[in-house]
Structure formats: structure tokens, C-alpha cells
Symmetry: D4
Subunit: 208 residues, 8 copies
């Protein structure tokens, strides 16, 4: 009667970054811009860190929606990059779906702008086709909390698991001993409070 | 165990606007009045744009509840208009249900005032009769967030899909190429941030 | 897969008011005190208006929890009144359950202080025994929104329907024509915005 | 020891609209975009309604800051329009100050984006030169409430009077009898709640 | 350099209630309607309790602004009642000013709708004429907190003292021994938390 | 179709306190630090009061995460204490699971830092293995409300019951008569409002 | 034109604790109860730590207002304790003023319940008599933020300096070298985040 | 009667960064950590960009307060750096004041942790000695908004000007033509929304 524990596994997972474009970013008002930017970059960094196959897509990037965030292009220079000619639900774009299938993964970690469209639509489509979908809620944004809450409800009811980038990183890493420094660096670069803890710790270690 | 992806289809959908009346609007306090008014008009505009059959209904419009928003009358001059003589749940009014059945559609997009009554009651009734119901949460309003959250929970538990007008428009349109200018105009008229993006873009295009 | 529409029916419903005591009221901080008091009294008034059998219960009323709100005693002078000697879950008190069974109703409308205990526990027990339970969320209060949200989730997952007093009144009344003045008076007495609408309307009628 | 009542007078007042540009609008996050857009247009409409001399200025409008809101250009086709070549404080631009002096007014009603720079700097400069300055706080926007509150404090300490567009309109109009319909139309066009009141009233008048 | 302590004195004070009308009440969104209604009635009750001369005024009460709250009329059947024919600033109405002067008081306690106009304008005018003005902020309301904060700043800068009805009552009463029961009743009727304290206390006293 | 009422039973329950460490506490920003600290200590006190077997665990306590809150060590000097060498999901640590199994309990009451990782992961694992899991939401904390809400959704969808420490205590105690003073002391020590009620009551009792 | 820097000096300062009573505490809703209780106790602890003469006073402590917080009585067993027979403004009580004068101090640190009455009135009176007054805003509470903001404005305009207990402690201590351990203990006991820092630090020191 | 416009001048200004230490950062809860970190770094970058003499100071950096943010040390390798041995008010440290005097500047731009102590105390001291002080409110942080608001009031009353880093940068730069690229880069690096505008603009320029 309840959903089983579907656990992220780094060998089974791919990342989909949908429409993180300069123009669309200005529509996002359910999360502070500094925090939102940081969350998107954190998700990108973790995708690279765990070497997850990543698919990029944009909508009308030569129009008002603007270009993809330049950092994403730089982080994933070789990733499939589908500039959709018009499909609003990225899943309606065959090239995009093909790129996902080519990864051979069954777990999809997805984020994008705006939540109720660019994230929710492909999430619902992917669930329908049997994928396990993990929505990175804090790397996805939309017009207001009102809209976001409705979108979360719709995706969750369809079986999506709502997570945030930190939870994704932790669930993928499993054990700090796999690489203490690597994960620590990821956290220090994107969580100021964690960076502070590490700096205080390092400072005291040095003082010994 | 989870809900399937029921996707809005412009050939299958009708719009129900329930009790957007001048007096009742003054009861709405879970959303800012400028934003709420804009959302209602956006929903009306998208209904017309996609040529969805639309049904209007009011409750006691000659009493304190006041007249229907004049813009709705003007947008849908030929739509069925049921001034209910007393039924609180519009679905209890045979004429209203008849008007819906006459559309021949199985997907109902609904919004109204107040959320937990004028929206929730017909939503629950329609679901019971097998319709697919999409609640436009941001074109529906009520006394406070406390009340709204309870109402959303009740409708979602019964199988309603919570959406907002922007998501509805995108899910209906499917592909920008179906009509770039039409959808763009709809967005520009109701999303100031999107209008700004388009104006900046147009300004640069003109400068070339 | 989803919950059916269980609709309140005035012939099937009873009201349970659990621990609305002077001392416990001071613990409630998830809702403004003026609004909370108004909501409780509105629920009491509607119970009387619809002549719903009502059961009152208190916990340790001679100790710090304090006496029942005097207005409730006055509104329901003949209602069963169970001053529980110690049971925290009112459903563990045989006299309370007996009073409910004596009403012969299968729909229970419940409110109380605090939400996650005095409301949630008997709600879960009643659901387990097959009752249809309607929680009046805005006539129930607790320490903070954090706690309330957890409690709502628990009750909803178990099948309770979350409503507010206004929705309860509307679902019970069904049709304004059953008694326009009676319902209007109930609303005017507990919804300042509605009272204003009625006063403006009456003023204009008088001016004709 | 306290500030005297300096009252707006329609014969003494001019309006300054500073940098309401498409790009800069996307920086504003201390006020909802629907509301903010409405407030700016309301201020423009009142300036025209009261026939106040109005001065428009922009900063780098051919760059990322984007073009002036098109509605402002349309509302004030003959107003002085100073596209500043670089001065951040508009008061540092001789042409802007000259345009203000040319109005012959001593009361300046100012709004712009962003509050702590484009509004605060010319406000402080104008106060220093002896003008009476009225900041229209709700037609001015900035990054966040933190920033806005600091800016308001700085301007108020220097003697600026903080007002909103509705207060400005009322203080200029003085007496409804000067033109009931004109002011009513202005309010109906920009205050949904007021529009509702007027519609309910008109509806009842018509019903007589 | 700082303002002296001007203390309310029941022999020196009059109360001005400006435009608490049914229609205008629907514009107020910076305070919850239940709380706002309670605060206005509390201010009225204290004015009567302390036998302060009270002046009522309305704006266009036969139009959309609607009639004065009926409770105010009932509480002050013999008070001067000035239905202004058009003046927005009540102080521009000679009859209103005359009624104030006729009280012979130098301390004015004022509240009304909306704060930045109906309260702020006569406040500034009264201060200019040498009155000591006490704004009852919680019995005054307006469109939003943005607007209210600007209005408070403007009035305070001009020398008004911002108070709330409870503070006014306490400063007027000076000493509980002047009438314990009277003041206690006023508080119990308008402060649910205080009512609870009194009820618990009385319950225990009775139990002795 | 809905979840059954699984009721906490003091003979069936164990408590898991996961990573309440000095460094990690500084990451928690979805709850006020005074309140959070109080909630954790309240949960610890109730575990001891009901003599529930309790398991403590930490993550990297000699690094930046810092030592376990000293009060927890003092409250449970003999409890199993597993300083995990690296596993992020405590359930991946055999010693931790062994300690839980050794308690022989089937109901797990869990809290920790951060909610979406240290609480959610073992919660999901324990549910998968058939335990009944009760998440103490107010003794668990994380980066922000955004993250928390996602985590709550994920755990609830998997069948976890969301509770708070007060609800846990009440559900375990069942009946005040089991020990009025003990439970009263627990509440007085951790709920200032309840302490006040008790002090007022005691003061009046003494005055008799 | 601006206020001079009047700096707290431990040889010149006395502390006034006004009406921190069990019943009145339940009226306070502009600050979380856990935090508020902690702030009051922190202020008491710092008064004792700096050996500042302290004056306690209560209002009607044998009635609904309830007894003084027991911790305050215990912290200051020998302090003057004035149970006022009726005066609302404590400064109207000769014994209270006498106790203050007997301290021989010119700087008064004041906190109490409720802010706009029990704090504001004696603050305004003391300023009028030439004392330097420092209001401890976070150890004072009232009905809501609306009320508090008005009260702060009134006191600040009259020359009171608004501080919080932490600022008071720091300004009195001047230099950590006067007593590192004493001040550190005060902070650790009342600032969970600071306690965490100290615990992490101590843990690492021990690990050397 | 009002404060004159004291305008920042890059030839007259120095920057003071007080106690931005890793441990103290964990105390800051009145501003989001991502945003706060960004603001501090933006202030540091602008200080370097405008080549303003900058003074760094810390409090007990070898204890729990932790080391200075490493980025500040790196940005200002040659700046005076005063590790205070104990003085809480940095102005009480002769070396710190000496470093300020050595800059020869009369305008002090100050930020630090925590606002009401490490910022407010030296601000008040500097004002007393005749400096013009500009508090960078968004690069300063403290425990909560309650505390911050009190601190802002105290500093503003003493004559400090409350600004934010963006306003400081704009007031110092005066005219974009002084260096378009330099200022644009500063904004792009610290204002995501501005970065987006620039990227969209650049993208279109490239497309020509």
C-alpha cells in the first residue's frame, strides 16, 4: 500500500538537466537566487563527481528563454545536448529520450525550470515508462510556492521521489570511506555552514 | 499503487469556472488580489485560446455574493451560464452537469471561489463519476492558507490533479511550433517576468 | 487507488469536541487566538444549527488544563459531557465511545486541542472502527505549524478527510434554499468579510 | 523636532520615473511581479490623470538593463526622456536635473528600480537641494526586503516622505467631488478589491 | 532631541473613528479580518468605557464604500457623525474639525481605513495644528504591510505616537484599582488568551 | 487503501538517535535553535522516562561533524553507542542494526540530523525490513524547509508515521493515571506554556 | 541631531524585570515560547553575573496574571520585590521608583510583559526623569509583531536604546580577558549554537 | 532636523571587516547562508576593486570563534589584520583604531558578525569620534531578525547610514563610464539575476 524504498545507486543513475536557461532563471521566485544558483551548480558537480551520465536540454535557447547557464556547458562538455525545437515536455523529443535510453540507466535524477512544466512533464512521462524518478526539488524552480506545492503533489502522487541535491549525493556515496576528501570538497564548495566546520577543524588541526 | 499520468489533451478538455463573483472575491485571502485576478483572467484567456468548451456558473448573484467578474462574461459570451438558484455544490445542479455532459469531454479543468467548497465539492463529485479532474489551484482562492491546504489534501486524496494555469497551458499546447506567437502572447499578457524577457529580446532584435 | 467521495450528510453526522479547555487554549500557537476562538464557536454554532448530536469531553478539567470554554457548555447544555479521568486518547474512554455509539451516526466531525494528540488519536481509533472521520482543522490547534503538518499527514494517510468549519457547513447544508437566512446568519456571525458583504447589500436594498 | 506636514499639491508636483527597464525588473524580488507591475502602471496613470509633469530616465537601455517598459513610453509620449550615458545617480546627469527644473515644481514624486540606488540617490540629492521628496515605495523595487528596509531608513532619515501610489493619488485629489468618476476609474483599474466593490454596487443599482 | 513622554489622560482625550465602512473593510489585507474586527470593536468599547468623546465619520457611505460598521453606530448613538460629502482628508471637512474642537480635548486617539490615507492625512493635519495624536495602529488597516510600513514611518516622523488599543486602554486606566472588574471585562471580551486566564482563575476560585 | 492505525506501545518501542552532533547542529536551519535543542532533550527525557531501549550513533565524530551532544551521552550512559566509521545510512552499519535487533522491538522512534539523510535513509531501510517507523519530526532538523518538506513526503509515502515528541509521549503514556507527576514533570520541563499553567495552578492551590 | 553613544557600564546599571508572570507569559505571541523563556533567563543570569542591582515587580500576582516565574525569584532572592497593588505603569508605584533610586544607578536595563505597556510605560517615565534606558527587546514580549513594532517605535522616538540580552552582556563585559570562562559559560548556557562551538572546540582540544 | 546627504566617496572611504570568522558564521540566522556568504565576498571584492584601504580584525580566532574566512585573508594579503586579544568592541583596541587612522579616511564602511555587537559597538564609537559610518547591513549577520531590527534602530538613531553592498558599490562608482567592464564583472559575480541578464545579452550579441 505504500511505496517501496527505491534507493539511488550510482551505477543505475543518470542526470537530466532541463532548461536551466538564463532567461527562464529570471522567472524563478520560489527560492532565493543565490541559493538556487548554488543548488544547480551543486547538482552539476555531484553528477560529474559520481560520473553519472548527464543529459542537457534547452527550450528555444535563441529566443527570450536565453542560453543555457554557461557553467553547465563547461561542466559537461561532452554530454548529449538537445536544443529542443519546440516540444515543451522534453520527453516528447525523441532525441532526448534516445539520449536517456543510451545511458542504459533506469534511475533518473531530474531538475529544471519551471518545476510544474519542464520538470513535472518529463517526470510523469518517465514514470509512465517504468523509470524510477528522483526529482531534485531544490535545483528546480518556479514562479511561486503556490505553484511549486501543486507540482510536488502531482509528481509525488505519480510515484516520483522528492529529494534535494544533498540527499542525492549522500544516497549515491553510501559510505564516506569511499572518498572522504572528494565528498568533503563537494560539500565545502556548496554548503557554507559545512565549509565553516571544515575550516575550523582544519585550523585546529594545524594548531596542534 | 501510484496514480497514472493522465495528461491534458485539448480535444478532451472542458473548463469550469465556478463562482468567480465580485462579492466572493473579497473573501479570498490566501493569494494576493493582483495575482489572483491575473490568474483568473489567464485561465480564461487560455480557455479561449485553446477553444475549450467552458461552463460558467454563479451562486446567488443577485445577493451579497455579487455579479460574475465582468471580464468572464465578456470572454465567454456564448458559454453556458448557470446562475444556480441555491445548490452549493454546482454538481447538484442538473443544468450544470448537463452543460458539462453536452461538451462531450472527459477532462475537467476547474477553478473557483472558495476552494474548499465551490471547487472541492464539484471536483469530488466529478471524480466519483469518472471524470479526470484538474484543479487550477492558482485561479482558485479561499479564506486562508490553513483552509486551502486542507482542501488540497482532500481533493488530491480523491484523485484530482493539482495544477496551475501555466502548467495547464503548457500541457495543452504540447509544442511551441503549434503557434509560437499565440502562446507567447498569452504568457506576455499574464507573466510580467516573461513579458520583460520578450521585450528585451525584441528590443535587441530591433537593434540589429 | 484513490479515496472515494464520502460526503457529509446531516442525518449521518455527529460532532466531537475534544478538550477545548481554557488552559490548553494557551498552548495553541499555530493559529491566531482571535481566529481560533471564532472558528471553535462557529463549529459549535453550526452543530447546533444543523441539530447534530454533539459530544463534549475534557481532560483533567480541575487541574492546569482548566475548564471547558464556557460558551461550549452554554451552547450544548444537554450534550453528553465526559470529563475523562485520565485517558489521553478519548477513544480509550468507554463512556465517550458509548456516547458516540448512542448517536447512531457513522460520520464523525471532530476538533480539539492539541491536534496531534486529542484530535489525531481518536481520529485514528474511529477510522480503525470504520467510522468516516472529518477533521475540522481550523477548529483544532497545537504548538506550531511544524507539529500540525505532521499530524495532518498522519491523519490523512489513515483516511481522515481534512476540512474546515466553513466547508463542513456548506457540505451539510447542500442548498441555500433549505434556509437562506439561517445559513447567512451563521456566516455573518463568524466571517467578518461575509458580514460586510451582507451589510453593504442590506444597506443598498434599504436605499431603494 | 519633528517633520512638518508637507502635503502634496497637484500644482506643485512632478513625477520622476527612474529606470523601470525590462532587464532591471527581473532583479526585483521584494514585491510580487504582478503587484509591482500594477503599481508602476497605477503611478503612471495617476501622473497622467493629474497632468503632472513627468520625467523619464533610463540607464544603459541598449545593454542588459533592457528597454523602458513600453507602457511608460506610451503613457508619456511627450515627456522628457533622458537615456543616461552612464551616471548611476540620475541627479548627476545635468539633462535630468534640467528637465526637473524646467517643470518649475518643488515637490518630486519619485519611483524606480532599484530602490537603494536609482531611487535613493536622486532622492538624497534632491532633498539636499531643497526639494520636497515623496518616495512611492510600492512602485519601487529591489533585491530583497533586507535591502529595501535599509534604503527606506536612509531616505526617511534624510527627510523623504515614504508614500504609496494610492496615498499619492488621494493626497493630490483632495476631494472626491473634484471628479468622482475619474478617480473611481483609476482605482477600479488598479485595485481589484475596489473594482469588485464598484461592480457589486453597479450591479445593484442596475437591479433597482 | 527626542520626543517627550506625552501620556494619554482620560480627561484630555477624544477618539476619532474614520471610515470603518463595510466596503472599505474588504480592502484591508495587512491584518487578519477576525483580529481586525475585534480590534475595532475593542477600541469602540474602551472609548465608551472611559467615556471619551468620540467622533464618527464616513466617506461616500451610499456608494461602494458601504455603510459604517453597524456596531459602531450602536455603540455611539449620540456621537457626532459626519458623513463627508467628498473630502478625503477628514480634516478638510469643517464639520469634522468643529466636532473635534467641540470636545475641548487636546489628545486625539485615531483609527481608520485605510491607514495611509484616512488615518495618516488627518493625523498629519492634527499634529500641524498642535494636537497630540495617538494612532491606534491595530484598529487601522490597509492594503498590505508594504503600504502600512510606509504610512507608519510618515506619521511617526511627524510626531504621532503609534499605539495599539490595549496600550491605549492601559495608559488611560492608570491603576487597576480604579475599576478592576470594568477593565477586566473589557480585556476578557477582546483578548481570548486573557479570557482563558480569567476563566481558569474563576474556576479554581469556585472550586475552593 | 489507507494506512491502518499503528499505535505506539511502550513495550514494543525503541528509540534511535542519529547524528545529533555539535557540528551538524550548526547545519540545521529549518527550526529555531532554542526550540530544536529543547525538542531533542525532550525526546531523550521521554525515552528515559518510558525506559525505552535507545540506540545512539554518530558519524565521524572526531572530524568536523563534532562530538555527540553531551546531554545525550549523559542521559544514556549505558545505551549502545555506534560511532560509525563511514556509513552514511546508519542501517548500512551492521553494528547499528544489530543493536536495534537486540532490543527485540518492532516499533522504531527515530530522530536525527539531517532529516533527508540521517533520518530518511534508515527510516526507509527499516520500513523495508518490516519495522513500524515513527519519525520525530521536531527532533530532526535540516538545511531549510524546502528540503524538509521533500524529505517528509518521501518518508510518508514509504509508510513512515510523522509525529512530534509530544505526540509520542502521549501515545506511549495512554492514561495520565499511570503517573500524573512523571508526565507532568516531563511536560513542564520542556513546554514553557505548560509550565506556566502548572505554576499558576500550584500557586492558587497554595493560596487556598 | 542624532543620539549620542550612551554606553552601558556595569558600575552604572541596574536591571528592572517587570511582570514576567506565569499568566501573562501566555499572552506573548510575538516570539517563540522556548526562545522567550531562554532570553528571560539569560537576562537574569547576566544580571547576576555582572552583579547588577535588580528590581523585580509584578502586577496582581494573586489573580489571573499568576505568580512571577519561579526561576526569577530563585535567581534574585534578596532583590527588592514590589508586588504592585494596581498601578499599571510600574513607575507610578512609589516603592518601585524608590527601589530604583536606592540602587544609585543612572542606566536602567528593562524588560517585561507586555512590551507596549509594562515595558514602554516605565521606559517613557524613566527617560522623562533623565535616566538612560536600555530596553531588552528579546526578553520582552507581547501579543503580536504588529503591536511590538508600534511599541518599539514609540520608545525609540523617546530616546530609549533598543538592545537584546546578548548585546547587553557584551557591552557590559567590554573585554573577554576580564573573565573568559564566566562569559563563555553564560553564552553556552543560553546560545545552543555557541554551546556547540565550544563543545566541538573542547572535544578537539581533548583529542590532542 | 534631518540628516544631510553624506555621500560615499572612493577617495574618502575605508572598509572595516569585523569578525567574519568560521565559528561565528554558524551563529548567523537572520539571513540565508548562501546569500550571506555571497554578500561578504561581494563586499570584499568591491573593496579591492575600488582599492579602498581595508582593515581586518578577529576575536579569539584560536578558540571556538574559529579562523577568519579564508577568502578574506586571500583577498587582502597586505591589509592590517588585528587579532584582538579580548576587546569585544574593536574600537577599544588601540591597534585597530590606529590602523583606521593610518588610512587617513573619514568615511568608514563596516560589516561584521554579530550585528548588534561587532558591528554596532565600533559603529557607535566611530560616530562619536566624528567619522561618517556606513553599515553594510547585508554583509552583517546575527541571531535573528528580532535582534537585527533592534540593532539597526540603535545605529540609525546614532547617525549611521544603513546601506547594502550593492548600494555602496554604486555610490562609489558614480558613473558606469568610469569602467563598465569592471563594475559589470563585480555584479555578474555576485548577482545571479544580473549575470543572467548579461549572459542573455552576450548571447544575442554573438548571434548577430
Amino acid at each position: 500500500m505504500t511505496q517501496p524504498y527505491v534507493r539511488l545507486n550510482k551505477d543505475d543513475a543518470a542526470v537530466l538537466l532541463v532548461d536551466h536557461q538564463a532567461g527562464l532563471l529570471s522567472l524563478v521566485r520560489d527560492i532565493d537566487p543565490d541559493t538556487f544558483r548554488n543548488n544547480i551548480l551543486a547538482l552539476a558537480d555531484l553528477a560529474r563527481y559520481f560520473q553519472l551520465p548527464t543529459v542537457l536540454t534547452t527550450s528555444f535557447e535563441t529566443g527570450p528563454n536565453g542560453p543555457l547557464m554557461s557553467e553547465l556547458k563547461e561542466t559537461f562538455p561532452d554530454a548529449p545536448y538537445i536544443a529542443r525545437p519546440g516540444q515543451i515536455n522534453a520527453w516528447d523529443n525523441g532525441e532526448f529520450v534516445q539520449a536517456i535510453k543510451a545511458t542504459g540507466k533506469k534511475q533518473l535524477i531530474i531538475a529544471g525550470i519551471v518545476t510544474e512544466v519542464c520538470v513535472a512533464f518529463p517526470t510523469l512521462s518517465a514514470l509512465e515508462e517504468g523509470y524510477e524518478v528522483f526529482v531534485v526539488t531544490d535545483a528546480s524552480g518556479t514562479f511561486n510556492a503556490f505553484t511549486r506545492d501543486s507540482a510536488w503533489q502531482r509528481m509525488a502522487a505519480a510515484g516520483a521521489q522528492l529529494m534535494t541535491w544533498f540527499g542525492v549525493a549522500c544516497e549515491l556515496h553510501r559510505d564516506w570511506r569511499n572518498d572522504v576528501e572528494g565528498l568533503g570538497t563537494l560539500f565545502a564548495n556548496h554548503i557554507p555552514d559545512y565549509r565553516n566546520l571544515m575550516n575550523s577543524f582544519a585550523s585546529m588541526q594545524a594548531a596542534k
